[in-house]
Subunit: 117 residues, 2 copies
DNA sequence: ATGGCTGTATTATGGCACTGATGCACCTCG
DNA sequence: CGAGGTGCATCAGTGCCATAATACAGCCAT
């Protein structure tokens, strides 16, 4: 059983969104650089261009990405740090408490698992 | 943004399932005792009986709960420990790696957060 | 200017998960 | 036996997700 939160059966556009966010934070998509085009990323990921566009959408709304019509989308300066701060805050506020409680119930201690690669 | 994994917009039957599992592990639903009836729990939680039934379903399949038609559902002996072991294993195998990677990316260390209630 | 690349809007469609209303089969107790 | 409690099956409705086929608007190098 356990249909908990496997990243497997999440909507495609959310998986892409996470993946893109990670790339921005890690600098794989560096600031000032152009993001992969909607069509390119779609082809690479075997997804629909519209689905990719939907994933990109949220970054535009947050001003982390700038659109130059007819050219492409660029990572805004300072986007990586802003994104990381934002995600970290959200994680601590919305996800971590539940995870912590869950682990406590299962008899697990985060400190013990911190080292295990 | 951040439509990550807030327990808020999870399907009702999954939230119920988690809640029931927690009750069994914690002993709130003790072994040998009868679970709340589908209708009773539905009324209490403001959900549909069928949704509750769907939540119960998975526990039957796993043999953690025994059904007596026309009577009710009972927690099988040893269910709590079996359930905890099963969930703990699944958590470590499927969820923790992703959580750990995610925290690393956000600059968080599980050990630091272990103490904060 | 033209071809080729960008993002975007439109519309339609299929699939699937979630939720819900109703009724039936079963058991227990008085 | 009848009333009221069980779980469960069937059917239907709804909304989100993903895909598809076009078409359009903008930029740029040749």
């Amino acid at each position: 059983m356990n249909s908990n939160r496997p990243s497997s059966n999440r909507p495609v556009y959310l998986k892409l969104r996470d993946q893109i966010a990670a790339a921005i934070i890690d600098g794989a998509y560096a600031e000032g650089e152009m993001l992969p085009s909607v069509r390119a990323l779609a082809a690479e990921q075997g997804a629909n261009p519209l689905t990719v566009a939907k994933a990109y959408q949220q970054f535009q709304n947050d001003g982390l990405v700038e659109v130059q019509r007819g050219v492409g989308m660029y990572v805004v300066k300072g986007a990586a740090e802003r994104l990381r701060a934002r995600e970290r805050d959200a994680f601590l506020r919305e996800e971590w408490p539940e995870i912590r409680e869950r682990m406590a119930r299962l008899g697990l201690d985060p400190a013990d698992l911190a080292l295990s690669t």
